[in-house]
């Protein structure tokens, strides 16, 4: 199970098994989408599966995640999604109203994101072989001009930007499972970040080195991957990281770190210092970007590591997740 959680085990599976067999001997850093050329035109393609439980939760449902997740993967690799194809694996016995609700959610999310659902496939498996439904979306998009995403272009002094508060989605899901006697007025942050990404590229394109949407494994995992890929240190300033009070409270109670919690409507960006102010100003003025913040900067040390510092001079390393975040005992 740990291999699906987005952290170290997942990475080992991808890098140790899939990559060498599928991608050839030197694929370079693995990004959120692949860029290919068709008749000389740069095109981006990506795919993602969604197995969330419960299917519906405050702020969204699997249908929305399936669209926004793929649109966002394309966006943070510097591409605008043009079309998606959708696969449903349905558990026999799934009530039709449930399926219909998700298909409607998918359709609406696609309209809101300005992307076309071009086709799909459906399979039904025996009862007990799929948790109600699994959804996979594959998206294809046009590579945006004005930006080149490459983690290896990261330099000491670059600023680390975050588009908004982290932890909303993961904690909402945890609470929606009903296993905790905790209630909070929280919603998943699922949304397309494409327009914010386009705003960023427009304001700071030449200075944008890298972007990522921190889903499973959280911001910590994404930044650890970057740190590893560029061989530099990511230093974050704890009180500049936006986290809603309720998420912070839930994390305190459970002994979880917001940096490890999944997000579905945020993105991280590394921007050169000359462009960082313009980037943040533009994001703050754009719809949905008012909470964007500079949360840290790239330094030479600690190499390949993410470090969080506090205002009073303390610091701690934040590693990639190992498996799922587990609440503590006492």
């Amino acid at each position: 199970m740990a291999h699906g959680a987005g952290g170290k085990a997942s990475r080992k599976l991808v890098e140790g098994l899939f990559a060498p067999l599928l991608f050839g001997s030197d694929p370079g850093p693995l990004g959120d989408a692949a860029h290919v050329h068709i008749n000389g035109n740069p095109v981006a393609i990506t795919t993602d599966s969604f197995v969330v439980k419960p299917l519906a939760f405050p702020g969204g449902s699997i249908g929305e995640l399936a669209v926004n997740g793929t649109v966002n993967d394309l966006a943070v690799s510097g591409a605008r999604a043009e079309a998606l194809v959708v696969t449903f694996v349905l558990e026999a016995g799934l009530p039709t109203p449930v399926l219909e609700a998700e298909v409607r959610a998918l359709a609406k999310a696609a309209r809101d994101a300005g992307v076309r659902i071009a086709g799909g496939d459906t399979k039904v498996v025996e009862h007990g072989k799929a948790d109600q439904m699994y959804v996979t979306t594959t998206g294809i998009g046009r590579v945006l001009r004005g930006v080149t995403i490459d983690p290896r272009s990261t330099r000491v002094g670059d600023k680390i930007l975050l588009s908004g508060p982290i932890g909303d989605h993961g904690i909402t899901i945890l609470l929606a499972r009903g296993e905790l006697d905790l209630e909070a007025d929280l919603r998943s942050d699922t949304r397309s970040v494409l327009s914010l990404v386009e705003t960023l590229i427009h304001a700071a394109g030449p200075g944008v080195r890298w972007m990522r949407d921190p889903t499973r494994g959280g911001a910590a995992t994404s930044l650890n991957e970057l740190a590893r890929d560029c061989g530099l240190g990511m230093v974050l300033f704890e009180d500049q990281i936006p986290v809603r009070d309720m998420v912070r409270g839930a994390c305190e109670l459970l002994g979880l770190d917001p940096l490890h919690i999944a997000n579905e409507g945020q993105f991280l960006a590394v921007v050169s210092p000359e462009y960082a102010d313009a980037a943040i100003n533009a994001l703050n003025l754009a719809p949905g970007g008012s909470e964007a913040q500079v949360i840290g900067e790239v330094r030479e040390q600690p190499v390949g590591t993410v470090l969080v510092t506090t205002r009073y001079g303390g610091s701690r390393i934040v590693d990639m997740l190992v498996g799922d975040p587990l609440p503590r005992i006492c």
Binding site: E179, D181, T305, T310, G313, R316, I317, I329
Partner: protein, 376 residues
């Protein structure tokens, strides 16, 4: 009051750190043990070592209930759950702890019904919802969590719920502290006393540490300001050559403890004559089991338990790290054969284990510091 923000105010923290530096001076080397694993984690999480002077050494104590549990007990619990129609329920922290045949999560991947619960009453709820199954709750923890296990058992009895049992691994803190003080390789000046255990047992049980052993002990909260203030209080005592019990965590810890919690524990539990602790060996009167009134809910009475003693791998030095004799990175297996991804001992897995704390928060900082000095 939000209770989190106030106790993390940077200005107050800086001022308290200043006071610590002033009190500590530079002549004497202070060795302070924080007993509780939660304190160990707080130290690393808030980076407190970065703001303490070099001559204050924090030594990690054995207050991690998961870490001190010998592997054989995990095997025992899992063997009960291997029976048909048994649900193994435990706190999240238990899920990755290795037994000889794998951790509970690994057993779950192989088909065992393993559920994470956030309180023992959740385990009882599972029993109510699944009348055709038996729910076995793997109870663990110091006196902090024992009362809720007790209350849950009282409820199970009152409601006549019989498809429920508790595999009890509750341990008590005082014998652990005594074992540390009795240990010949230990040289300590004072104790940062456990915070949450003390909400149940109060502060009186620590009086012998001050009176008989002549060591100051300050019961501390878990926020950065709590711990720094506790260190100030300890330094003041040490400089005045005093030794007494003080309560820094007054907002939560009553001096007399929690009578209702203690009554519930007395109703349900009795002390085992002895219990094996990883690293500390067999300690008498140090652990709880269900008493005869609750035998029907005692997993060890309802099920056959192998009870095989499993010693740690020879190379693993869990015991010495637990006693504070070795720092985590001084164990030969640390960061090599033993990592959070493949832990050899529970200290690398539990959220209160000092090896986990050190590995996750600290050890690359040490490498970074040494690489910087070698450049200079």
């Amino acid at each position: 009051m939000k209770f989190v923000d106030e106790f993390r105010q940077p200005e107050l923290i800086s001022r308290t750190a200043e006071e610590i530096r002033r009190l500590a001076g530079s002549q004497r080397h202070y060795r302070l043990m924080e007993v509780c694993g939660g304190h160990t984690h707080a130290i690393y999480r808030f980076g407190l070592k970065d703001i303490l002077p070099e001559n204050i050494e924090l030594i990690h104590g054995p207050g991690c209930p998961v870490c001190v549990l010998p592997m054989g007990r995990i095997d025992d619990g899992l063997s009960i759950a291997q029976q048909p129609d048994v649900i193994f329920a435990a706190f999240g922290d238990m899920m990755r702890v290795p037994g000889t045949q794998g951790s509970p999560l690994e057993h779950k991947a192989r088909g065992m019904d393993v559920r994470i619960v956030y309180s023992p009453s959740d385990a009882l709820k599972l029993a109510r919802l699944n009348p055709e199954k038996h729910v076995m709750f793997f109870a663990i923890g110091f006196e902090t969590t024992a009362p809720s296990t007790a209350l849950t058992l009282m409820r199970a009895k009152a409601e006549g719920i019989h498809n429920f049992s508790v595999f009890c691994n509750h341990v008590t803190i005082i014998p652990a502290i005594r074992a540390i003080l009795d240990s010949p390789d230990m040289r300590l000046d004072a104790f940062i006393g456990p915070g949450h255990v003390s909400t149940v047992i109060g502060c009186r049980p620590y009086e012998w540490i001050a009176k008989d052993q002549d060591k100051p002990i300050v019961v501390s909260g878990f926020e950065p300001l709590d711990m720094l203030q506790s260190i100030v209080m300890l330094l003041r005592q040490l400089k005045a050559r005093e030794a007494k019990v003080e309560n820094q965590y007054k907002r939560v810890v009553p001096w007399e403890g929690n009578r209702a919690a203690l009554r519930a524990m007395a109703e349900v539990f009795q002390l085992r004559p002895y219990f094996e602790w990883r690293g500390l060996g067999f300690i008498s009167q140090s652990a709880l089991r269900l008493n005869d009134k609750y035998a029907a809910w005692d997993a060890e009475q309802r099920f056959a338990v192998p009870g095989i003693r499993v010693t740690d791998p020879k190379a693993a030095q869990c015991g010495e790290v637990l006693k504070g004799v070795l720092k985590p990175h001084q164990c030969k297996l640390f960061g090599r054969e033993c990592t959070p991804e493949h832990p050899i001992g529970a200290l690398m897995v539990s959220s209160e284990g000092s090896c986990a704390a050190y590995h996750n928060y600290e050890h690359r900082k040490a490498a970074m510091a040494s690489s910087l000095t070698s450049i200079a």
